[in-house]
């Protein structure tokens, strides 16, 4: 340990302490700072840990190497190897236990002074300390000391001690080592082999040697240059690493002749190599002047089938800090934790992460495996900043029966959570389309109905060149404005926009009232104004200002509005056209844009993107000529398609254009749920035949299945087959007679009965009232139920076999599904079966088939049969 390069050591037992040593020893205490603030005087090690200096020991100068006593007691006992070859025991603990007091300060002195290179405590016999020294003529270089041996002052003259140690205190000197090894050689590194407490591996000058203390005359050795930093894998006791310059050699002690493996050479000499104590086969290496710790993952023991397979090594590197690293130390117990120290004694505490494998569950919880633990991370309820992911949204919407309200179609947006204006617009559009299609069909069963679903774009196109404009008076003002005469198509468009209600009446009154009721004052005022009723607009604004939630500024706006003048160069006009841009509410903004606009140019209204599409379109229908209108609608449609804005469905309807629009919506959001339900509404049209639509529907069904919303999926299928009869699945299972081979359901379907919904699945031996107990083809009786032994086709008795009372309750609870109890069911494996109700109750208590001597475990064969749909466990 030269003074410039600190080393670092974790305490072997007190897991929150470590020592940094350069010219002195400093003991630190590590604390977690997760829940507390950084204390004054402590050093930050990482984001959530800090170190406090506990004590400094500068009693031992010329330190060359340090080793921590491995026993639990006494704590903080360290052996320090000095430049003169002496080994000193020193302590950093504050409380000096009397029992061990005499250990502290003990010195172990070699015969000849030379540098001590390495120290190693015996892991089994905790009193044995091995020291590796430089070469001195023919002297021994490996000395093993017993720290409990009595000191022998008589051998070493007292004055010599004084000279070297420079101490006047009673120094406890030991000069007689337990063993002396490695004569005429130098020792660079040492480690005890865990196989036996008397085996010591030493990196000598030019070889690696294993000394056996039971027979010190013999040693096993192999010539190599890689003699530095020998260290044994704590999980695989025959595996040893050592290094030389930039190269690490891995040895197998059972095959000691040559290294089993050498790791790729580093450009600079290595300074430290250490196995991870908490994980198998992980070796950390550090090279000089570098800020990177390189890790080698050697998990793979050579496979028995492979003859010469080299273990593959995963090489990784971590960069714990920006400065060069002087030394590092693995934490003895915390998983893969490490502390590093830089030459200027800044320290950093970090964890080397494993390759973490992770997976999402369908219900947005994330699992990952790290080390020996498996973590599950669930989404928290109180999502403050994060907008909910579409997966969560769709799941919640599926639970709230979103999309299934076919009567009050607009209500679906409320089921969706009433938070997305685009969804609101979409469902209102679909609602109006449905309503007016029915209306049309009643009036004239022609082909007009499909026109409604084709959207305003097609509606407007169909009326090209038939409309003339006429001048209309403003109510309450002496002014006239050109308004297009409303033909049938334009009325229909306005109806779809929601401005006017069903019937021939073109009054916007009811619409205004409903807007006022919902508190949309600005919008209502704008609509009133666009219908040339400035008085009503002002009145609405006043109403809004006086209401509870309303904005008092609306009064100011009303005031400004009432000052309207038609004069082209008036101050009012000038001010309004400049100040309107500062209004926050788009509807207030377009009101003034409309009033200040030149006749026939309404771009300020038409291209105000914040105004709902339906209002802009309705405005356009009222004020634009046919060619203008067409151009405008065309442009707006393309804009909506590009953006995937659902408001645009009003324009495109459920046509190919609409599918294009929906496609970019799905691309943008992934919301196949809305896409599926929306397109199903247009069922009589061709859109459902579009491949993309079918694909969305299929994807949505898969999603429901993945969430285990099987009932929801069934509901969706029913909903789908109502709207799109072609989607009914073909019968997949038939019950046919054993004798004549004819389908039993053949006869059933001729009998008019109530179970229409079931017959689509082909298993229609269900009708209880028809009482088919024999094959309709050949009149042979149907097979008997394995439990009640009555021919199939007869109604099931309420309590078969057992007389348990709870079963009775069970069956009566399921009364709604009573028909299902009469169904045929059978095991595909043993072919035994009977009434579905009987079978279900049998397997509730039994694992084996009810037919005697049949050991088939019918129910367990189907692993998914035990699963429960997720809806039932949902809140």
């Amino acid at each position: 340990m030269s003074g410039t390069k600190p080393d670092i050591l974790w305490a072997p037992h007190q897991v929150d302490r470590f020592v940094v040593c350069d010219s002195e020893l400093s003991l630190y205490h590590v604390e977690s700072t997760v829940n507390s603030e950084l204390k004054a005087g402590s050093l930050r090690l990482s984001e959530d840990s800090a170190a406090t200096l506990l004590s400094i020991n500068s009693d031992t100068p010329y330190m060359k190497c340090v080793a921590w006593y491995l026993n639990y007691d006494p704590e903080c006992l360290l052996a320090v190897g000095q430049a003169n070859g002496r080994v000193v025991l020193t302590s950093l603990g504050q409380d000096h236990n009397s029992k061990f007091k005499d250990l502290i300060g003990k010195e172990f002195v070699p015969k000849h002074a030379r540098q001590c290179n390495t120290l190693a405590w015996n892991p089994l016999d905790s009193n044995w300390l091995a020291a590796g020294l430089d070469k001195h003529r023919a002297d021994f270089s490996v000395l093993i000391w017993d720290i409990c041996s009595k000191y022998t002052p008589d051998i070493v003259p007292m004055e010599k001690v004084r000279l070297s140690a420079g101490e006047t205190e009673t120094t406890l000197l030991v000069t007689k080592p337990l063993y002396e090894l490695g004569q005429n050689d130098a020792c660079l590194s040492l480690c005890w082999l865990p196989r036996d407490q008397k085996l010591l591996l030493a990196g000598m000058h030019r070889n690696l040697a294993i000394f056996d203390l039971r027979n010190t005359s013999q040693k096993m050795f192999v010539n190599t240059k890689a003699v530095q930093g020998v260290t044994v894998d704590p999980y695989f006791h025959d595996r040893v690493a050592s290094f030389y310059e930039g190269q690490v050699a891995i040895w197998d002690l059972r095959k000691f002749e040559k290294p089993v493996l050498t790791l790729t050479e580093q450009p600079k000499p290595l300074t430290k190599v250490a196995w991870c104590p908490t994980r198998t086969g992980l070796l950390a290496t550090l090279i000089r002047d570098s800020n990177i710790i390189r890790l080698y993952d050697m998990q793979h023991t050579p496979t028995p089938i492979g003859d010469e397979t080299e273990p593959t090594i995963i090489e990784r590197s971590v960069q714990p800090c920006d400065n060069y690293i002087a030394s590092f130390a693995w934490h003895p117990t915390s998983q893969n934790r490490m502390i590093v120290v830089t030459p200027n004694r800044t320290m950093s505490d970090f964890t080397v992460f494993e390759r973490i494998s992770l997976a999402w569950s369908p219900i947005t919880s994330l699992m990952w495996a790290c080390g020996r633990h498996l973590y599950e991370c669930a989404e928290e309820e109180n999502d403050n900043s994060l907008e909910k992911d579409i997966a969560t949204k769709m799941r919640l919407r599926a639970l709230s029966r979103y999309g299934l309200d076919t009567e009050q179609v607009w209500r679906n947006h409320i089921l969706a959570g009433n938070e997305d204006p685009q969804l609101k617009s979409l469902w209102y559009t679909l609602h109006f389309m449905k309503q007016y299609t029915e209306d049309m069909d009643q009036k004239s069963p022609g082909n007009k109905g499909s026109l409604v679903y084709a959207g305003i774009k097609s509606i407007v196109k169909s009326s090209l060149g038939m409309v003339e404009s006429s001048r209309h008076n403003w109510s309450g003002l002496d002014k006239q404005t050109d308004i297009q005469n409303l033909n049938e198509e334009r009325i229909l468009a306005l109806q779809l926009c929601g401005w006017i209600k069903k019937g021939s009446d073109v009054d916007v009154g009811p619409f205004l009232n409903s807007l006022v009721q919902e508190g949309e004052w600005e919008r209502a005022a704008a609509v009133a104004l666009f219908n040339l009723d400035i008085r009503r607009a002002i009145q609405i604004l006043n109403e809004g200002a006086s209401s509870e939630k309303g904005d008092l500024n609306l009064n100011v706006v009303a005031m400004a509005l009432s000052g309207y003048t038609d004069e082209k160069n008036s101050l009012w006009r000038e001010m309004c056209s400049t100040l309107r841009l500062q209004l926050n509410n788009p509807y207030l903004c377009v009101m003034f844009a409309f009033l200040t606009s030149e006749t026939g140019s309404y771009d300020g209204v038409l291209y105000e993107n914040k105004v709902a599409v339906r209002d802009r379109v309705a405005f356009a229908c009222k004020f634009l000529s046919d060619t203008q209108l067409n151009r405008y609608i065309e442009k707006l449609t393309n804009e909506m398609k590009e953006a995937g804005n659902l408001e645009g469905i009003l324009l495109t309807g459920l046509t190919k254009d609409g599918v294009d629009l929906m496609e970019s919506y799905v691309d943008r959001t992934g919301d196949v749920q809305t896409a599926s339900y929306c397109m199903l509404q247009g069922s009589p049209l061709d859109v459902l035949k579009d491949e993309r639509v079918q694909y969305w529907i299929e994807n949505y069904r898969n999603l429901l299945d993945a969430w285990r919303f099987w009932h929801k999926r069934a509901e969706f299928d029913i909903h789908r087959s109502k709207l799109d009869p072609s989607s009914k699945p073909l019968a997949q299972v038939f019950v046919s007679c054993n004798f004549c081979g004819k389908s039993i359901s053949y006869s059933c379907s001729t009998v008019p009965h109530q179970g229409r919904g079931f017959s689509q699945y082909g298993v229609s031996g269900s009708p209880t009232k028809s009482k088919v107990t024999s094959c309709p083809g050949c009149r042979k009786p149907l097979p008997r139920c394995a439990l009640c032994l009555i021919n199939m086709g007869t109604p099931v008795s309420s309590c078969p076999g057992g007389s348990k009372s709870d079963e009775k309750v069970d069956l009566s609870k399921d009364k709604k599904l009573a028909q299902f109890n009469n169904w045929f069911t059978w095991c595909h494996n043993c072919r035994h079966g009977g009434h579905a109700g009987h079978m279900l109750s049998w397997f509730r208590d039994h694992a084996e088939c009810p037919v005697s001597a049949c050991t088939c475990k019918c129910m367990q064969l189907d692993t998914t049969g035990n699963l429960v749909p997720a809806e039932t466990v949902q809140p």
């Binding site: 990784r316 992770l358 973590y375 993309r692």
Partner: protein, 324 residues
């Protein structure tokens, strides 16, 4: 008894399977391979409870859960049977993936010798018979594969292969192969030229009816590409589909190698893990991150509870449940 299952990649050659009944417990644990196992994957439940694993010992194996052979006392205990061992590879099998279910029971493996093998079980009731259907040579040591999950008829079967070859010559590390109906072979459709660093994981997002595919790549950072098929009418028919490829996001928040990426069910949230722990990024449906491509908040706790850094949970954070 609501069950969700997770297979855990075990310590060398042992695998545990956990089963969730509100809480997780181990339902089966058995010895599988003689080398360490790289990956496990579930088949679609339509095919039963089937797992596939691949290992350093040059093999891949298919496992099926058997119930019913145990006696009544051990009811609920499951029992896994090795149905087949796929021994074609001469080197370590690095990844195994079941094909999307509409393709039938198919399995792709990739190995360090640069070959992707596609197997099919012609009879889904007999999991012990697998025939090697295709062998695709990638010329680079493969580390990961991903099937395109799209079941749309407009998209032919597609598989993306990533390589962790660390040789210095800069070659594209991600290749995409597409099945050609006419030749009945897989042919290279695209190579992502911009990815030249070793790739550790690759994942197609669930398609969910989008008109394009999203591919996440774990290399020294996380990258997300979109592949939009150019309409067939515009290209000469018969040839491989052409794609417009855009990189939509690149996250270097890990500041280190990224090992795994995983999409949520809708392909809108991506979780990734790297040497620094675990984090998730929130992405909009079109693959673009919520707040610009240089999103800093990836590991920022304020983004939401799903963005837990692993460090926190190691120390027992309240939001995550810990199981050992």
């Amino acid at each position: 008894l609501g069950r969700t299952r997770a297979a855990q990649r075990g310590s060398p050659s042992c695998r545990r399977e956990l089963c969730c009944d509100g809480d997780w417990h181990c339902t089966a644990s058995w010895k599988t391979h003689s080398g360490s196992m790289w990956r496990v994957t579930w088949a679609h439940p339509e095919f039963g409870q089937v797992l596939a694993s691949c290992s350093f010992d040059r093999t891949a194996a298919v496992w099926e859960e058997i119930v019913g052979e145990s006696n009544d006392k051990l009811r609920g205990q499951s029992h896994w049977v090795k149905r087949t061992t796929l021994v074609d590879s001469r080197t370590s099998v690095t990844n195994v993936k079941f094909a999307p279910k509409h393709m039938g029971l198919m399995l792709a493996t990739c190995s360090a010798d640069g070959l992707v093998r596609i197997y099919e079980a012609p009879d889904v009731m007999n999991l012990s018979q697998w025939s090697l259907q295709h062998e695709i040579s990638c010329k680079l040591s493969c580390s990961c594969i991903s099937w395109n999950p799209s079941s749309s008829r407009a998209h032919s079967p597609m598989i993306a292969v990533g390589s962790d070859d660390s040789s210095p010559n800069a070659m594209a590390k991600v290749q995409i192969f597409e099945y050609n109906e006419n030749t009945r072979k897989y042919a290279k459709a695209e190579t992502l030229m911009t990815v030249t660093d070793p790739v550790h994981d690759i994942a197609f997002a669930p398609n969910l009816g989008r008109s394009f595919h999203i591919l996440a790549i774990a290399t020294k950072d996380v990258r997300i590409f979109t592949l939009k098929p150019v309409r067939k009418e515009l290209t000469s028919s018969g040839g491989p589909t052409k794609f417009e490829i855009h990189i939509v996001a690149q996250f270097d928040n890990h500041n280190s190698q990224v090992w795994r990426v995983s999409w949520n069910i809708t392909g809108t949230v991506l979780a990734s893990s790297g040497d620094d722990g675990c984090c998730t990024g929130i992405l909009k449906g079109n693959g673009s991150p919520v707040s610009g491509s240089s999103q800093q908040g990836n590991s920022n706790p304020s983004l939401g509870s799903t963005t837990l850094s692993l460090q926190n949970s190691l120390n027992g954070s309240s939001a995550s449940r810990k199981h050992s």
